[in-house]
């Protein structure tokens, strides 16, 4: 995102400001009138709520994020390995507020591992923070975003909501992920 915005700034002679935050917090800020042009979320709930409350012009699916599990530096795909008592702490993005954490919970519940692993969880605000905890050796394992689909245990859809009818915002949106981009039906006002 950082690289894309730098390229965009050079091409169009504008300043792009990226405001990072959890989906829930940014949603609140937009509802309270924050002057954002675009909202990008790894979530379906908040973008559709924004459309329903007439805060958005249009909603798009712009790509996918990959959720994986890391034990130390190793990416693993067999989740039952996490039950091993040598693994004391597992970082997970807060499943109540962060989409990556929510997906992790769904997968674990599906495999019947959620209750067994629950005492080991350390809750991060988002998946990037969980990844930081694993990389720095603060926890033994964690649910983290992966760069590719290989070893992913779940896919998370990214959606974008155009909040203002600005020409440049539309160009930026078109640049973001041309191939996968699909406009979601019934969303325009």
């Amino acid at each position: 995102m950082q690289q894309k915005s730098e390229a965009f700034e050079k091409e169009h002679h504008v300043t792009v400001r990226l405001i990072a935050g959890s989906t829930g917090r940014l949603y609140n800020q937009i509802m309270q009138g924050a002057p954002f042009d675009l909202f990008i979320a790894a979530d379906d709930e908040r973008p559709s709520l924004l459309m329903r409350r007439h805060k958005g012009e249009a909603r798009f699916r712009i790509g996918q994020g990959h959720l994986g599990v890391k034990v130390g530096k190793q990416v693993i795909s067999n989740l039952s390995m996490l039950v091993n008592p040598a693994i004391q702490h597992i970082a997970i993005a807060n499943p109540d507020v962060a989409p990556f954490g929510k997906s992790a919970r769904v997968v674990l519940q599906h495999q019947g591992l959620w209750e067994a692993l629950k005492p080991k969880f350390v809750y991060a605000q988002n998946a990037m923070q969980a990844a930081m905890m694993v990389d720095q050796g603060l926890v033994d394992a964690g649910f983290v975003p992966l760069a590719s689909q290989q070893h992913a245990i779940a896919e998370i859809d990214y959606q974008a909501v155009l909040l203002r009818d600005k020409a440049l915002a539309k160009v930026w949106l078109a640049n973001l992920a041309k191939p996968q981009q699909t406009r979601l039906a019934g969303c325009s006002r």
Binding site: S22, D96, V122
Partner: protein
């Protein structure tokens, strides 16, 4: 919600008790002793006032991580991790609220008239007697203010416990973090209620500090 409030109260209480024990000798040394590095020590004690809580929290987390000296030692003694535990949170809170405990006590000790201490000496009181019978009663207001401020400051702590605690419900998820999560989840009714409770606690604690300070001035004026 009440679970988180209860943890906040426990944390504030534990932190305050430990702080009073640590901060009193520190305040005494800083108030009366001249030694090389005293200024440096004062700066270190005041650092948590200006450091961003997340920075302090990150330092502490790295310091108590299982592969660190401190975290490793704790792990081998108690067979559980210090990071992401209630004890780890108490450790971080003690560091974070240190200036709020040391500074009022230091000021109260410094405000004791020198001739009182000289008088105690000429009366043949030992250093221990002087401390117990003259200094502590005279600095009582400062100690109470230190306790109230440490308690209130720990109740309102956010960044440090967020980094060190890992928001584990029932163990390290304190009221301020619960409130933060409620807002993110759009649970505004619950968020309002918790915010009001925290506001009330802060108001009561600060009123207490104010009342103690007021009385302290009255005593001084009458002297």
């Amino acid at each position: 919600m009440f679970e988180a409030l209860f943890i906040s109260l426990q944390l504030a209480l534990a932190t305050t008790v430990i702080l009073l024990l640590i901060a009193l000798p520190l305040a005494y040394v800083l108030a009366f002793k001249a030694f090389p590095g005293r200024t440096a020590m004062e700066v270190v004690v005041s650092l948590p006032l200006v450091l961003p809580p997340t920075v302090l929290g990150y330092f502490v987390l790295v310091m108590i991580a299982p592969d660190s000296v401190l975290g490793g030692a704790w792990q081998s003694i108690f067979d559980r991790s210090l990071a992401f535990s209630f004890s780890g949170m108490v450790f971080a809170s003690v560091l974070y609220s240190l200036p709020f405990a040391v500074q009022p006590m230091q000021q109260a000790l410094r405000a004791i008239p020198v001739n009182w201490l000289e008088m105690a000496q000429t009366q043949g009181m030992s250093a221990k007697q002087t401390l117990l019978k003259v200094m502590l009663p005279a600095a009582k207001g400062g100690v109470l203010v230190a306790a109230a401020l440490s308690f209130a400051h720990t109740m309102g702590e956010f960044g440090v416990v967020l980094m060190v605690g890992g928001s584990i419900p029932g163990e390290t998820k304190v009221a301020s973090i619960a409130l933060f999560d409620m807002v993110e989840m759009q649970q505004s009714d619950q968020a309002w209620m918790l915010a009001l409770i925290l506001l009330a606690v802060s108001f009561v604690m600060l009123s207490l500090v104010h009342a103690i300070n007021q009385r302290g001035f009255d005593v001084g004026a009458g002297r």
